[in-house]
């Protein structure tokens, strides 16, 4: 096979592993001035679609954007926003911004960890919840706040945690 044919095979493989809209987006930015600068924007789109980034998608991005794959993974791993593990069905984010911290968000976090037996950045064994820490979500007047998926819970106390989690299918082991 000619080099150009080989390239095409690789390109097709890469195309197949990404949704059409993202492939088109990559093609549109690649021809722009400083096209490689859109790498982070592309990774945002991939993560938005899949919920996380895995090797297959990242090498597809590398292939289509003509950026070395070491650089793609290097950039992706630098930024906290990108995650390489699948997230749970419900995403918990406890705000640890200064206002929430001063108002006791740390104790709320401890309670969540205790009840779900999960660490920050991880997902429960049953894949129901993943736990993250947010830095000021702009609702300081309601501190401390806990966000489940899109919903914001205000003035959360450690004793409220079990009740909130139960809304999402958590069953306390008595």
């Amino acid at each position: 096979m000619m080099v150009s044919e080989l390239m095409k095979v690789e390109d097709d493989k890469a195309r197949a592993s990404l949704p059409e809209a993202i492939v088109r987006y990559i093609e549109s930015v690649r021809s722009c001035e400083h096209g490689e600068s859109y790498l982070i924007a592309v990774l945002h789109k991939v993560q938005e679609h899949f919920g996380y980034l895995d090797m297959r998608q990242m090498s597809a991005v590398s292939q289509l954007m003509q950026i070395p794959s070491a650089k793609v993974t290097g950039v992706a791993s630098f930024y906290h926003f990108f995650t390489f593990v699948p997230r749970g069905k419900h995403k918990l984010a406890i705000c640890l911004g200064t206002a929430c911290f001063v108002k006791g968000a740390g104790q709320v976090l401890d309670k969540i960890k205790e009840l779900l037996r999960v660490d920050v950045g991880h997902t429960t064994k049953d894949q129901l919840f993943s736990l993250d820490v947010a830095r000021c979500v702009g609702a300081c007047a309601l501190a401390p706040v806990l966000i489940v998926d899109e919903k914001v819970y205000a003035n959360v106390k450690p004793d409220d945690v079990a009740r909130i989690l139960e809304e999402y299918g958590f069953a306390a082991k008595k």
């Binding site: 400083h34 490689e36 600068s37 859109y38 790498l39 982070i40 924007a41 990774l43 945002h44 290097g74 950039v75 630098f78 930024y79 906290h80 926003f81 990108f82 640890l96 911004g97 200064t98 206002a99 911290f101 001063v102 108002k103 947010a134 830095r135 000021c136 979500v137 702009g138 609702a139 300081c140 007047a141 309601l142 501190a143 706040v145 914001v152 205000a154």
Partner: protein
Amino acid sequence: MATPMEQLLERRRNAKFHLFRDKFSADVRITVGSATCENAAGSEAVRRRFQELLDQHKPKHVVIGNVGCSGKCDMEPVVLIVRPGELPVKYVHMTPERVDEVFAEHVLNGRQVEKYTMRHEAGMPAADRVISVCEGAHCRAQSSEIQKAFRESLAAAGLAEKVVVTPSACQGLCAAGPVAYVYPDDVMYQHVTPEVAARIVNEHLVGDRPCSDHIWQESRVTNRFAPLYSDVYFFGKQLRITLRNCGVIDPESLDEYLAVRGYEAAVTAMTTMTPMDVINAITKSGLRGRGGGGFPTGVKWNFAASQASDTKYIICNADEGDPGAFMDRSTIEGDPHTIVEGMILAGYAIGAKRGFVYIRAEYSLAIKRIEKAIEDARAAGFLGKGIFGTACDFDIEIRLGAGAFVCGEETALIHSIEGERGQPRPRPPYPAVIGLWGKPTVINNVETMANLPAILLDGPEWFASIGTARSKGTKVFALAGKVKNTGLVEVPMGTTLRQVVFDVGGGILNGKRFKAVQTGGPAGGCMPESALDTPVDYDSLMAAGSIMGSGGMIVIDEDSCMVDMARYFLDFTQDESCGKCTPCREGTKRMLEILNRITSGRGVEGDVEKLLRLGDTIKKTSLCGLGQAAPNPVLSTINHFRAEYDAHIREKRCQAGVCTALLSYTIDPEKCVGCGACAKKCPVNCIKGQPKSVYVIDGVRCIRCGNCFKACKFNAVQRK
């Protein structure tokens, strides 16, 4: 052909926006707060309920719109009702149920529902009128005399109960000072003396004939909305330049922005001023960067303008990394066109044709609003080729951050826009010389940008008259923590911390004792009670051992442990260190280890000295501002709260009861009635006793969870 200015004015005339002063508007206007904070507080349900009622009743001449956050976050959701020819009324803590009442009474029948109004809820005395007398730097000398004269005349006229006299912050009208504002009449008096005060009482308040020779007639961007801020205790101590349109106009409407003189500054600059004129005006205004560093904006622009390069860039820094701050997001959510206009001005001044807004990916609503503003401006011909019909091109693109605090640092930010890892590089060369893709680049903070149109509209002299000798204008703070009024606060530079925390903020929640106020976030410091009279300006805060920072202001009370606070910030910076240089990467780790040791009861003599030494080295040898400032929260708490460190280390005691490992629980035999409630709650069953006898905790097995402390209704469980 019409000139660009004529075209703009024509558009403004056609803009559909009726301010409350527009007596000719037939519409009743309902506006519902719509911002991240408002939505979290439930404003979307409130808006839906209004919409349902409108669909149901189909009243004529009632319109509904959105506005950004007005800053009074603890009272959200906030709804504003404006009836033609009447003063606006703000309703707070709105719920769908309250909407029903307000709709039926006020919207349909014109009767205010007093009990839900901001005035009522803010505990303003049930007065007919409020007179606020300016106490800003220029009016201060005469202010108390004037207030006294008002009070005496009011007493003589038998109005003492009906009119409240209160001081206000600088109103930005220093040349007309001393000024006094009469609410709800919405009359601003200038050059007030004790004699004029007596006349105002007799002629205006008693005789209903305002003293026309002392009425201030001009319109400043900052003063047009005075009656909107009906809670004078919260708003009266503020001056809104950056936030002038937030909570007033619909952030998603170009028309409404045009109606409040939007894009007038840009067109004026581009048609009547040279780029150098614009730079000189900004230099003269004394504006300094609001992103934390406080570098004079005009000087920075001058560097970039004097570079011989065809390609230059403008970047608006909306990364807002301080974990306790939300000023920039609120500004973008509430008034995105101001940022677009500010960037156009900056671009024109330095000769840039492309601008970037670098914004955090987490700020979904702000991203949506700025995207829409850019699209609308482009559609109107305000962005793109030949903007406003001039020969200049300028366009703006949005780039998303991806959760790295260090990317707020300007050289890291540039790398991030280039699609690289966001690591800083040494400066010089500064970005103004070698920046994005190697081209001269000016990076300014959101708040800096938002000030630009106001400065050009009302003049650099006006701007420079507000504030202190070396810090001009105002500063926006995100006031939060253990304070009564939380939200966005904009005060003239030179206002003291005490005024912000106690006058605007309303003091400490639940009658607790004030302990410290933190500014500057992870790069700043904690200031104790003794520093409360420090004026808010770049130099004074620095001298007091903190920094202005970007605007986070967190109030801390006696329930917080200062060692734990220091640990919190260091934990943050340690986690965010990009790892490029050793002092920051390793040094912050060592400091955190020591702090963890101290808060878990394993601190040893000499630990504080080690922290001081390490902190000093990190400050001196780190490559970028993150490392250079990382030790600040630790050093400032050691400086002001050394006794707390010593108590942790020597006595293994945490006064605030925060460091759980240092607490011990015992039962006071005098107080225990033997109810057994504590024992039932103990997860490790280490409380022994028989009903009706004294219970005892086995201190060795106790895991210090605090359950027993909470369970005991007789205060018999002691925590030390």
